[in-house]
């Protein structure tokens, strides 16, 4: 990281740390949600952006993480903090077990297999009524704190989760693993020929990514305090996450974070102006991002804004 960027990032983090004493509960909530998406996007970027494996159903780990916290805290009386390592662990274990067969698949097949995994998990949890409450959902214990303190608590918890994701992503990008993953992304066969143990590295990448997503699921469950299969295995979150990664720039450390902030804050501020048609606006917005800035805002506008670049992006991928 260059010094200028480092300072900018430090200022950004310090501002976020100071914010809770400045803004209202509503904005704390909006920011907490933004951190959540930033965590998911940054974590998923390790498998999606670095390695080039479109894990469309990565939200599966989010759902499982949420239920790990839910079940451990309601059925086994564990405290919120002590459930979190298990959330991360659930992601790691599942990603390794699933990764061995599924990571052999490529492209669409991998994407769809992950969607299949997500739907299977959702349906299974839906049916494990004894343990998970099934379709009736699970109510988590509410913290014995005042509303203001609970808010700040989860704000900081989610912020930490996001910083953890960033740190992990940063480290991965700097070590041998990161180079191996990029090699796999460019040409997996060539990487394999060069002596990179591709199955091992892919699995590690997915496990790391899953641990972050699982962790954010756990925090989310406790924050929202009521979960059911349909609110934690949400296909729409996958799409949002992808849009964020694309908007900010796939395969970069800070891209997904920036994408998350831009998209979440835009949606918060702009959506309320389009109450009746904001769904259509969101759909159009995604289409436009894909058409004109598929490489992310920063890659596209490195040398300043220009329509020419937008058009050249459009031409590049068309038939």
């Amino acid at each position: 990281m260059k010094a200028g960027k480092g300072i900018l990032f430090a200022v950004f983090v310090l501002t976020l740390i100071a914010l809770p004493s400045l803004v209202s509960g509503y904005w704390l909530r909006v920011l907490t949600q933004t951190f959540l998406f930033a965590s998911i996007a940054t974590g998923s970027n390790i498998i999606i952006g670095y390695t080039g494996y479109p894990a469309f159903g990565n939200i599966a780990f989010f759902g499982v993480g949420a239920y790990v916290t839910g079940v451990l805290s309601t059925k086994y009386g564990m405290s919120f903090i002590s459930t979190l390592p298990f959330c991360a662990l659930s992601g790691i274990v599942l990603a390794i077990l699933l990764g061995i067969p599924i990571l052999r698949l490529k492209g669409h097949y991998f994407a769809i297999a992950t969607v299949g995994v997500m739907e299977t998990f959702r349906e299974l949890i839906d049916n494990m009524t004894e343990l998970t409450g099934g379709g009736m959902g699970l109510t988590l214990p509410i913290m014995k704190l005042g509303p203001e303190s609970i808010y700040k608590y989860f704000y900081y918890a989610m912020l930490l989760c996001m910083l953890f994701a960033l740190l992990l992503s940063y480290i991965v990008s700097k070590i041998k693993l990161g180079y191996a993953l990029r090699a796999i992304k460019v040409d997996e066969d060539a990487a394999s020929v060069m002596g990179i143990n591709t199955p091992l590295y892919k699995t590690i990448a997915w496990a790391l990514s899953a641990s972050v997503v699982g962790l954010s699921g756990g925090i989310y469950a406790y924050w929202i305090s009521y979960i059911d299969p349909n609110t934690v295995f949400v296909g729409a979150y996958s799409v949002k996450m992808f849009a964020m990664i694309l908007l900010g720039g796939a395969g970069t450390v800070f891209g997904p974070l920036i994408g998350a902030f831009v998209l979440e804050l835009i949606s918060e501020v702009v959506w309320s102006k389009f109450i009746a048609i904001h769904g259509m606006v969101l759909g159009l917005l995604i289409i436009l991002i894909i058409l004109f800035i598929p490489k992310g805002l920063f890659e596209t506008f490195k040398g300043g804004f220009s329509f020419k670049k937008l058009l050249s992006n459009l031409k590049e991928n068309s038939l």
Binding site: S21, L22, S24, G25, Y26, G135, M136, P147, I224, G279
Partner: protein, 398 residues
């Protein structure tokens, strides 16, 4: 930093204070105006709007001899309970509104009432029926829907003395919070009234095919089939019951037959199906704001060019109850007094005679039973408000 924060906060505070006028009472509501619950959300909103305009036309709310106009600030939760919670937070902390009208849907009320409870502001809701809402020890939530576990009770009570006497019941339900509770309650009621439950099974929410279940039910040949699910499941069950010639003596649903689309979608196949209703257009109740239920229906028709159903009536009734409690408390700011007035509420409204128990749920209101007869919903139970006699047993499919 801190100073700046205080200044900023003060600015916010004054900016929003400036918006609400002194002679006005602001209510807030975060409803599903888009997304999968858009229809119900908008119907509830219609109820709120009709109430608001009716009250304002009559000069507003009377508190301590003064009149106040009422207004409602709306947000759209996009049918996402989490978003609803966020918006109620916005209503409370940014718009400084302390009187919250509920959203539609159990999940949404569940999530948003946790917020109102955190801030100790009041919510009256006419849009959710899950029992679970009232087992959390909340002090600030009041609901006027008869709860899920009591949904099918009146239907089973009505049928128990009919002849030929029904003795067996099949219960099928969608695997979600509300429907599962309706089914549990229905099973308990069935056992209470001496029926034998011969089939009891859930199906995935939003399923597109129930032919296997229908064939299995046919093999049991039950006297009564109870469907506890959602509108689309109800349509599938009726269509497939006819396809496979399943002929119970009574076919009853928790949700579906009360909606006008039921007859539009099923045409003649809807005949003689029974439904549980939170409310029907023909109930003969008086109302402190609209005059009577009948008047409410007339005003609703005049304004929206369609018949009201229990969603819109529930919205209007929740607002009426909120208003009456505030007027009785004689204050628009002292939440403790208003809360007290709500807990001791005991008045007839268009929704029935409303009383709350200590958990905030309505008691003794019951669920009127309707039946589709010649393409029209007729109230058939309780007998003192019935418009028509129930057709029983249900004629066989042709």
């Amino acid at each position: 930093m801190k100073k700046l924060g205080i200044v900023l906060l003060a600015c916010f505070f004054f900016a929003f204070q400036g918006l609400s006028r002194a002679d006005e009472i602001m209510f807030g509501a975060a409803l599903s105006l888009t997304g999968k619950l858009a229809k119900e959300g908008n119907l509830v909103k219609n109820g709120y709007e009709l109430w608001k305009d009716t009250v304002n036309k009559k000069g507003g709310m009377k508190i301590g001899g003064k009149s106040f106009k009422v207004d409602i600030k709306y947000y759209d939760d996009e049918s996402d309970p989490n978003r609803g919670a966020k918006l109620v937070e916005k209503l409370v902390t940014e718009d400084k509104i302390k009187l919250i009208l509920g959203p539609y849907g159990s999940e949404s009320v569940f999530a948003t009432s946790a917020i109102t409870e955190k801030y100790g502001v009041l919510m009256v809701q006419g849009g959710a029926a899950a029992d679970k809402l009232y087992t959390r020890g909340f002090k600030n939530l009041f609901g006027i829907y008869t709860v899920a576990t009591e949904y099918m009770d009146d239907t089973l009570e009505m049928l128990k003395n009919k002849s030929p006497k029904p003795s067996t019941v099949a219960i099928v339900y969608s695997n979600d919070l509300f429907s599962a509770q309706v089914a549990q309650g229905a099973k308990a009621s069935a056992e209470k009234y001496g029926y034998k439950v011969v089939f009891y099974q859930d199906y995935p929410k939003g399923t597109q095919d129930l032919s296997t279940m229908i064939v299995q039910i046919k093999a049991k040949n039950p006297d009564i089939i109870l469907g506890c699910g959602h509108f689309q499941d109800t349509i599938i069950i009726v269509k497939q019951a006819k396809d496979y010639k399943v002929n119970p003596k009574a076919l009853a649903f928790s949700v579906g037959p009360t909606l006008p689309d039921f007859v539009n979608s099923l045409k003649g196949d809807a005949e003689n199906v029974l439904g549980s209703a939170q409310w029907t257009m023909t109930l003969k109740y008086r109302d402190p704001v609209f005059g009577s239920n009948h008047e409410f229906v007339k005003m609703y028709r005049a304004r929206y060019k369609e018949d009201p159903n229990y969603h819109s009536a529930g919205g209007a009734a929740a607002a009426v109850i909120f208003q009456k409690a505030i007027e009785k408390a004689g204050t628009k700011d002292d939440l403790n007094k208003i809360r007290g007035a709500l807990s001791h509420f005991n008045e007839e409204t268009l929704y029935g005679k409303i009383k709350f128990d200590s958990t905030g749920k309505v008691i003794g209101k019951g669920m009127p039973v309707i039946q589709i007869q010649q393409g029209v919903q007729k109230t058939v139970y309780p007998e003192d408000v019935a418009e028509a006699k129930v057709v029983y047993p249900k004629p066989q499919w042709k």
